[in-house]
Amino acid sequence: MAIETFNYDNRIVRDFGVATMVWGLVGMLVGLLAALQMFLPELNFGIPYTTFSRIRPIHTNAVIFAFVGNAMFMAMYYSLQRLCKAPMFSALLSKIHFWGWQLIIVAAAVTLASGITVSKEYAELEWPIDIAIAIVWIVFGINMFGTIFKRRERHMYVAVWFYIATWVTITLLHVVNSIELPVSFLKSYPVYAGLQDALVQWWYGHNAVAFFLTTPYLGMMYYFLPKAADRPIFSYRLSIVHFWALIFIYIWAGPHHLLYSSLPDWAQSLGTVFSIMLIAPSWGGMLNGLLTLRGAWDKLRTSYVLKFMVVAVTAYGMATFEGPMLSIKGVNALSHFTDWTIAHVHVGALGWNGFLTFGILYWLIPRIFRTKLYSDRMANAHFWIGFLGIIVYALPLYFAGITQGLMWKQFTPEGFLLYPNFLETVIQILPMYIIRAVGGFMFLVGAILCAINLFKTMKQGELLALEAAEAPALEDNPDDHVGSKEPSQWHRWLERKPVQFLLLTTVAVAIGGIIEIVPTFIIKSNIPTIASVKPYTPLELEGRDVYVAEGCYTCHSQMIRPFRSETERYGEYSKAGEFVYDHPFQWGSKRTGPDLHRIGKKYPDAWHYSHMMEPTSMSPGSIMPRYPWLAENKIDLQLTPAKIRAMQTLGVPYAEGYDQEAVDHLLFQARSITDGLRNSGIELADDAELTALIAYLQRLGTDIKAIPQPTTTETAVSDGM
């Protein structure tokens, strides 16, 4: 029997490990800054680049794609080589993958800070970066599958299936959700509009959580938890069922982000049912992880690695129980748009992703550096401060979310809103925001301890860059005949064939994907056109782009749900037909400020001017940031005709040749606004961004005000509270 010798590449593991820590600290620091601005908006330092609405996407992208992304590559590159008994397919591809990914992260940070964004959550990056992501992702895929093909181990361990599912599904999601029509090098419009765009986006958003934050981490759990505990996973049978059930169900649940929106009821119900079903495989996975430690719980006392991992798996269980609960319409009616959602995602992000990452880092770095961890005490301190940090972060936000949700819905006995001033409900929860920031700070302190500890560990040890290993070549591998001699058991067969496995995984996710996406396209032709809904004027379109660029959607929704508490506060509830020209949709997901769908004509132009320059001047105590630069910045009139043409390509019915008249129309409309402002003693340039933004805000939601309300048999649903 020919024994082959080869080397595992630990350098690439170290590189991704270092990147994990560096970007982790950056992402968390930006998160802390955002948390502080929630009660101290001045902490944007008066400049656009550090204002909440721009750093919020930087924070989410950094922790998801930079921190979690690098961590998952680190863990995959370590475990895949060992599970396949083969070095990575190509050291060059590993390098390209590594540096490509880091460059994308830098490009993301720079563009997002500059207001270059598509504004679709967790998919904000503009089209050139989207293409770069696709290329690097494919490089990673080639490297991964190349390694799998060259393996010396006939069977693929369950962790590897999770990695494969991750790769396939993220490819699919990224491509479908990023289809954009470029207008210029750094500006594009999504091809989908309104309801359709929302459905595609949340199909993506939900499954990015599933296949970027969950499946790779489950694979990591299945590999590193047994390693750290030095005992095999509780049940391999359960892991097979867990895998197939999870990837099959997850992909359907996206519409639960759009409950009570203008999405058809049947799609909402589908989202709810599948979300609830998700509890089963999620908890199957959690139990499989936790029960691995049965009879060995005493190890927890001495091993900080296991402590981190157990908290991670438990947090996963909590978050996956809560998620389905939030998908129940009655609960969602209260929780949606509030801080409850933020608390929920942070249990997942800090607990599950954060703590599993730390556990793996503490296990892995000393090993590849052939030394012991620099300080066990520091690691234990990290554990406790991080653990408390999660609690101090999440509890006040649950409280804030429920409090504010209830306040929005409260009526006086006479039938008026008890808190008609939205700001009152914000000021009520400010103390909770302060405590939350303390929790986030504690978590960050823990992460800093971790970075120092690992850095010292690396310094005291020496990287075993190439780790010698040996294994029989695949042909002669006697393990091939492990177990019964019966030749083809279904799953054994599948595990031996990566290509079949890949195809079956693709089918499993594609079924859900197609069933969810096809209706989206049917819907497009079924959205009742509302005759009075007209395309935006060129000035409004430019204003809309300003709204997108500044990230107003991070605090404001444009989706009035059909509850009496919302129609009383904001006006007629939102109809699908009102969004047909919205590329991209701006429904938002969090109401730190009030809904803006019917803001049009609510206030005079001068109010908006003063409010944007200094929100507290119009709304004392407001935590909305100031946007004075909008009065200085000019819109790029050169680009306006191209934008009109792009919209025409996407089906917006501007008259033939309108692009040539667009700038004249724009300036004409702008002048009417600036003349009006001048009468109130305000000087604003015709082509200032603020002029366009005001035009857009004044247009919002007014189209259906123009006509008598369509006689509707539907009355607003009562609040279910």
Partner: protein, 64 residues
């Protein structure tokens, strides 16, 4: 109006049913197959992460 629109989207009401049936079929198939897997194979798979011959893993030197 929304409900009128829903009714006009014909041919989609069966979607949730189809989804559930599909899922159920796939689920039962997997469970049956998994139950029938043999023990030797399962034991082999379970121990795969533990028995790698790499130097850095599982060497008692690094017990915490």
């Amino acid at each position: 109006m929304l409900s009128q629109m829903l009714k006009s989207v014909t041919g989609l009401e069966f979607y949730p049913t189809v989804s559930l049936v599909l899922f159920f079929a796939a689920f039962v198939f997997t469970v049956v197959k998994v139950i029938r897997l043999d023990r030797g194979y399962l034991k082999y798979m379970k121990e795969m992460p533990l028995d790698s011959n790499d130097e850095t893993a599982n060497s008692g030197r690094f017990t915490e």
